[in-house]
Assembly symmetry: C2
Homo-oligomer: 197 residues x 2
């Protein structure tokens, strides 16, 4: 059985819609603390995402050793290296959108699968997204329409929702933006007999 070590609604929907049987058991990790410590070690955004995904996979694997446990994480970086975390409240979210407006950023999406407490598969990929210049009125309406669900989203957007209105260009996988690069994941799950070939 595949166990998704994430509470993300978007990831669960992707797995369910793709017809992949799975359980859900979010890992109770203090992401902010873990992230700060990883950055202090000098890790770049892709490697931070990979380390956090691994931490989540291993945490749940300790409780579900016989299962394949999938940990996931996303990080976001501007081209000048500025990292953007999940916003704690709407005011921070608004200032993040103002920062991202009119610029290209890279969203890194990492997945690690653990089995019996050991990482057995890893994948990281980046997507380059270019935000158009957003008006103040647009940002206000957008935050009102999307609501607090955005606080769980790195960068403050759900590409599968109204978030697509933020962008002028997207180069990379849609599934990676949602947070679960399905093609490489499915290829791995086929080798494990979790999905049929």
């Amino acid at each position: 059985m595949l166990v998704l070590a994430s509470g993300s609604v978007g990831r669960r929907a992707l797995l369910a819609n793709a017809g992949v049987p799975h359980d859900v058991m979010p890992a109770p990790i203090d992401e902010d603390a873990a992230k700060a410590s990883l950055r202090a070690r000098g890790l770049g955004p892709g490697n931070v995402a990979k380390a956090l995904a691994e931490l989540k996979a291993l945490d749940v694997s300790a409780r579900r050793p016989e299962d394949l446990v999938l940990g996931c994480d996303q990080t976001l970086a501007l081209s000048d290296g500025t990292l953007i975390d999940k916003a704690p409240d709407r005011a921070v979210l608004e200032s993040q959108l103002r920062l991202l407006s009119g610029k290209t950023h890279t969203l890194f999406s990492a997945m690690v699968v653990a089995h019996q407490g050991v990482p057995v598969w890893r994948h990281v990929e980046g997507v380059n997204l270019t935000m158009r210049v957003l008006s103040d009125a647009f940002i206000a309406d957008y935050l009102e329409a999307e609501g607090d669900v955005l606080l769980g989203c790195v960068g403050g957007y759900r590409i599968e929702g109204r978030g697509v209105q933020l962008f002028s260009d997207i180069a990379g996988s849609h599934f990676a933006i949602v947070g679960l690069p399905l093609l490489p994941l499915l290829a791995f799950l086929r080798t494990q007999g979790v999905v049929a070939t």
Copy 2:
């Protein structure tokens, strides 16, 4: 007001999820007959899709002249030029999947907006999708799980559903695969005041 001249559930969901206000009025076009006539004129798959999208947009525009009417179409071609249409029944669908299995095809997605009976905007883009080699058992299970909804899908897959399991590689826009390239459409709709800037 934007009027979607398509009954596609996937397209309606994309527009609704993106927060684009719209009506739906499918164009009662005999697609097979129109397609045959366009091909007889020697049009390639991208231009066939564009001509059909325009036909649908103009048909509905005659009844909704004051609105912006969006017609859409998709065509699918193998690299050797073979064209694949929507399957009329499950047996044809199965033979199409066997034909596409292990090969790369191009899915063309066209949109035309009409206003007062005149086309005012056009967009066509292609996506290259590579299908892995599908086992007979997989195809049988897949057709059973997805059901007759696939008969409305060029190529016999919904990428937003179990169809993602068919592919090893996808190069291009997710929204174009679903049948509504949202980024260029939203950019146009912003110039028309249909969505906010």
